[in-house]
C-alpha cells in the first residue's frame, strides 16, 4: 500500500471502518471472536497463574488482548474477504476507484479497534471476577504502545489479505496460522521459554514487538531504551509490511482478474 494513500483517503478509510463495525456487530460469530473467546483464554490463564500476584494478571490481560487482536485480523479480516466474495460484493468493491488496499486498511482498522474491546473485557474480568487490582507501570507509554501496535497489526494484516483475494481455499490454513503467532510473539509467556532457534522468527514478527512494548509498559520495568527499540522495530516492520502489501495487492488483484477468482466458482 502506498503510504500516502493513508492520508489521501483518510475520509474513506474512516467510512469503511464505520460501516464494517456496523455490519459486523450484527453477526454473533464476530461478537464471540472478539468478546467471548479472549475472555475464555483469560480465565484459563488467570486460573493457571492465580496466586502469582497482580503483575501476572496484568500480563495475562495484555496477552489475551493481543490474542484477540491477532485472531480478529486473521479470521475476521480474512473471512470478510471471502464473505465479500460469497455475497457478491467483492467485485463491486474492486471495481470502485478506491484502491482495494485502502478498503482493506479501513476494514483492518475496524477489526483492530473492535478487538481492543477484548483487552478491556479481560481487564474487567480480572478485576471484577478475580479481584486483582490492575495497574499500568507507565500509562502514557502504554497508550503510545497501543497506538503503534494498532498500526503494526493493521500493516501486518495487509500482507495476509491479498492471499484471501487470490486463493478461495485459504481458509483451511487459518487455524494453522493462529497459534504459532500467539506462541512466537510471546503474547502469553516470554519467548525465552522457547527453543533458541525460534527467536529470529519472533524478531521479524511485528506482533512480537507490539507484545514487548505493551508488556514492558504495563508490567515490565518501563525501560525507555527497550520501549524505544520495540517502537522503532514496530515502525520499521510496519513500513516494510506496507511496501510488501503494496506489491502483493497489485500482483494478486491482477492475478485474480486473470484467474476469475473475484467471484465464487
Amino acid at each position: 500500500m502506498k503510504f500516502r494513500n493513508i492520508f489521501v483517503y483518510w475520509r474513506t478509510i474512516l467510512r469503511v471502518a464505520e460501516i464494517t463495525l456496523r455490519h459486523q456487530w450484527n453477526d454473533s460469530f464476530i461478537l464471540f471472536s472478539i468478546l467471548v473467546q479472549p475472555m475464555i483464554i483469560a480465565v484459563l490463564a488467570l486460573f493457571m497463574l492465580r496466586g502469582l500476584g497482580g503483575d501476572y494478571a496484568m500480563f495475562v490481560v495484555v496477552g489475551s488482548g493481543l490474542t484477540g487482536l491477532w485472531s480478529s485480523l486473521l479470521f475476521i479480516s480474512g473471512n470478510s474477504i471471502n464473505g465479500e466474495r460469497w455475497q457478491g460484493t467483492l467485485e463491486s468493491l474492486v471495481s470502485t476507484p478506491t484502491p482495494f488496499e485502502v478498503i482493506v486498511f479501513g476494514k483492518n482498522l475496524a477489526n483492530v479497534i473492535q478487538s481492543l474491546l477484548s483487552m478491556t473485557a479481560s481487564y474487567l474480568l480480572a478485576s471484577l471476577l478475580f479481584g486483582y487490582t490492575l495497574q499500568l507501570v507507565a500509562p502514557l507509554l502504554f497508550i503510545g504502545s497501543v497506538l503503534l501496535s494498532i498500526f503494526a497489526f493493521i500493516s501486518f494484516g495487509l500482507i495476509i489479505a491479498p492471499l484471501f483475494i487470490m486463493y478461495r481455499g485459504i481458509q483451511q490454513w487459518q487455524n494453522a496460522m493462529e497459534f504459532p503467532v500467539y506462541i512466537l510473539a510471546g503474547f502469553l509467556f516470554p519467548i525465552a521459554m522457547l527453543p533458541g532457534w525460534t527467536t529470529p522468527i519472533s524478531y521479524i514478527l511485528p506482533p512480537y514487538w507490539a507484545a514487548r512494548a505493551l508488556h514492558e509498559t504495563s508490567t515490565g520495568g518501563a525501560d525507555l531504551e527497550k520501549i524505544m527499540l520495540a517502537w522503532g522495530m514496530m515502525l520499521f516492520f510496519s513500513v516494510i509490511d506496507l511496501l510488501i502489501a503494496s506489491r502483493l495487492f497489485k500482483v494478486m488483484l491482477y492475478k485474480a482478474r486473470v484467474d476469475a477468482t473475484l467471484e465464487t466458482e
Binding site: 474513506t12 455475497q87 457478491g88 460484493t89 476507484p97
Partner: protein
Amino acid sequence: MNSIEVSHLRRVYRSTIGVIRRSIKEIVAVDDISFDIKEGELFGLLGPNGAGKTTTVKVLATLLIPDAGTVRVRGLDIVKDAQEVRKIIGFIFGGERGLYWRLSAIDNLRYFASLYHVDPDVSKKRIPYLLDLVGLEGRGNERVQGYSRGMKQRLHVARTLLHDPDILFLDEPTIGLDPVGAREFRGVIRNLQSENKTILLTTHYMFEADSLCERIAVIDQGRIVALDTPSALKEHVSDLSVVEVETFGVPEATVNAIRSLRFVDALSVEEQGQRQRLLIQTPLGAEAVPDVMAALDGLRVGRVTVREPTLEDAYVRLVGGKE
C-alpha cells in the same frame, strides 16, 4: 463518437483437474468478438446461457483481464487504465447478491458513495433522490435482508447511479423480477437512456431488447453471429413463418424428427409445466402443418397457430434453435 470499442476480444477460463496427474481444462468463453457502442446508445447483447455475455460485461467492467484483443472505454484501456475507467462506469449483475444484507439501504449507499468519492454534501442529497427514483422512498432505513428481490434489484440501480456514471453495464437486470417490477425497471432504463447515458444491456427477454435497444449483437458460443438494429435482425426471418404447436409430453425423439423435416429451418421448445410449445420456423407457413401433425401422430396436441416471425424468432434462427 464511440464510448466503447471492443476489438478481437478473447477470454478463456482455465481450471486444473486431477491431483497427481494434473491437467488444465480450457473453456473459451469469448472468442474474437468486436463491436463498438456509440455515445448515448443503448446496445443489447443477446445470447443463450454460456454464450459469453456476462464474461464480456465483466471484461468491460475491469473485473476480468482479456486473453487477447483490446477493449477501450472512452479511449481508456481497461487493463492499463482500470482505475480511471472505474470512475466513469457503473454495472449491475442480475440477482440479489452484491449488497450488504445486514445493513440498511441508506448505509449501503453511504458506503459506496464514499468508495466512489462522492462529496458527502452531494451524497446527502443524492441518496434520497436515488431512493425516490427507484421507488424505495420511505424504506431506506430498513435492513436489506427484509427486501423483496425486486427491491434489491432497484437498490442495485441506485448504488450504480451514485457517482452518476456516463456508461452503464446492465447484465440481465430484470432476471427474476415479476412482470410489474420488470416493467417498472424498463421505465428506469428508459429514463437513463433519455439522460444520454451509454448503456450495454444483456437480457434473455426479446421484447425487452426489441423495445429498448437501438442495436443488438447476438452472441453464441463466444462469437457474435449477428449485429444490427432490431428491425434489421427481424429481416433475417422475413422469409419465414412460425408454426406454434401446443403439445403434452412430446418425446425428444419426436422433436428431433420434426427438426429434421426438410422444410424446418429452426425449432425451439418452450416448457410450460405439463405442456410444451413447439416453435417451428418454416418458409412453408400453414402448408407445413399437415406434415408436422403427421410427425406428432398419436400424441395429444392442443392449439396450432401460424404467425409472422418476431425478434425472438430471428434470435432462435441465429443461435440454431438451441433454446
